[in-house]
Symmetry: C2
Subunit: 274 residues, 2 copies
């Protein structure tokens, strides 16, 4: 039984009093599709269901999966070649007096499709450190919520020559890119910041960590420092995004890094089409 | 010359790809109107223009003022008695690829009207401390942006018996309510947290501080602790909101506080109708 009210973006936007617009009171998923299949599709939907629950928004995996099938039938033939992007935006619904959510609100689900972004340079990308500090509320850590103004402000620093900027917390610890999680290789160990400090806990990050551990690789979840990245023991820095894949960093803030494209070969998320 | 694209909420919502919904990429003002005049109207518009500028969104005071006149003509006769609420929601506009804002985007301005909320109990209200920590990005401090999920989560704690909950930062310092700024009286000095640590820097707070200083009262902007509020030297705690006015707290977390309604009499924001 449907719980959400479904909106197709091509037919119009959400109601004027939707709480997603008013307060960022909702969350979203951006899924790379190839035809009618999606990269890490069930993980995307699982994350949305789980994190919606953390916000007190009730939606089921089955309902989201049904909408994805409808969207695939509707959109897949419009996009040829490498695929397309399916975006699901789920909000707590419309109305209510002020910030306080009322019980029994009907969530709104907005569905849209867009072309794939350009593929990143497989030989590595150029990034910089962001001047915009990242603040993560522990209650909201990891949730791909509609509160993304910090990422917008940081992304405004990305000029034509940059692929991404890396954001740090108030202590100067590296946390993540505006749209990517970080994975560093150092002393033959894979290092990535833990979920509790992340603004967005990416599905590709989680899948990749599991995959590396299954292969017997050493993986540590701990804070990353600038020294970890710029020091001589760094064997490579990778950006993770389920649409863009595993992207090696070639240069950060003018410093060249070792580039090993092996990880992208080992872990091709296109293998995870469901 | 108009810069924004104007939308009346009663005629429909913003476009599906508006960045206010997608990322909370915008800000809002909620103005108490009486007929065609507004409480602290020019301060509301000044704040919106200034903070939009901090986000890189271009709007002029003149354009907003013109919209307020149009809104007043449109709505004022629908609401009788004590007045009505005018809400302006300004977003960076529609579209763009991902978080990164494009240059030359046309902001969207959504205008809506609603009835006044019930007046708070003049003899004082009952509040509690929130369990939701407040995190404030220094780059966004004070901006009434559309990123308000922390306030929504805190407001969900407000039951029938509470008027407000008070949020603290990660060090346990009291910062503000979900929709109110704090003003404490202690040792005959007015104390309020400084703008740099606020999620929202209220227009009533700023007006009131100026007014108190003009009257020769001692005003200090510094962090507030739980001890400041619960200790024996507390002479009263007030909640400030330009729609609700100056609201004395009678009980916080089960502790009764001294209530002096003098402040509400001295500083009646309804005198500031413009």
């Amino acid at each position: 039984m449907a719980v959400c009210r479904l909106f197709w973006a091509e037919e119009g936007g959400l109601p004027a009093d939707d709480r997603g617009l008013a307060y960022g009171d909702g969350l979203f998923e951006t899924i790379r599709m190839v035809g009618q299949k999606g990269v890490l599709l069930s993980r995307h939907l699982e994350r949305m269901v789980r994190d919606a629950g953390r916000l007190g928004i009730n939606v089921s995996h089955r309902e989201l999966a049904t909408v994805c099938v409808q969207a695939s039938q509707r959109f897949s033939e419009r996009f040829t070649g490498e695929g397309w992007i399916l975006k699901l935006t789920l909000t707590r619904g419309a109305g209510g007096r002020g910030y306080r959510p009322q019980s029994g609100m009907v969530p709104n689900l907005l569905v849209s499709a867009s072309p794939l972004p350009p593929a990143p340079d497989a030989s590595g990308v150029v990034v910089d450190f962001s001047r915009v500090p990242l603040t993560v509320n522990p209650l909201l850590a990891g949730i791909k919520s509609l509160n993304r103004l910090e990422q917008v402000m940081a992304a405004a620093e990305i000029g034509q020559s940059l692929f991404e900027v890396i954001m740090s917390d108030s202590e100067g610890t590296l946390v993540e890119g505006t749209r990517t999680n970080l994975l560093l290789r150092k002393n033959d160990i894979w290092v990535t910041p833990p979920v509790a400090c992340l603004a967005v806990a990416g599905v590709l990050r989680q899948w990749l960590l599991e995959r590396l551990r299954q292969r017997g690789e050493a993986v540590t979840e701990r804070s990353l420092t600038v020294e970890d990245v710029l020091g001589p023991e760094c064997q490579g820095l990778f950006l993770l995004n389920s649409v863009l894949g595993v992207v090696p960093v070639r240069t950060i803030a003018g410093h060249d890094l070792p580039v090993d494209s092996g990880l992208a070969t080992i872990c091709n998320p296109l293998e995870t089409l469901e």
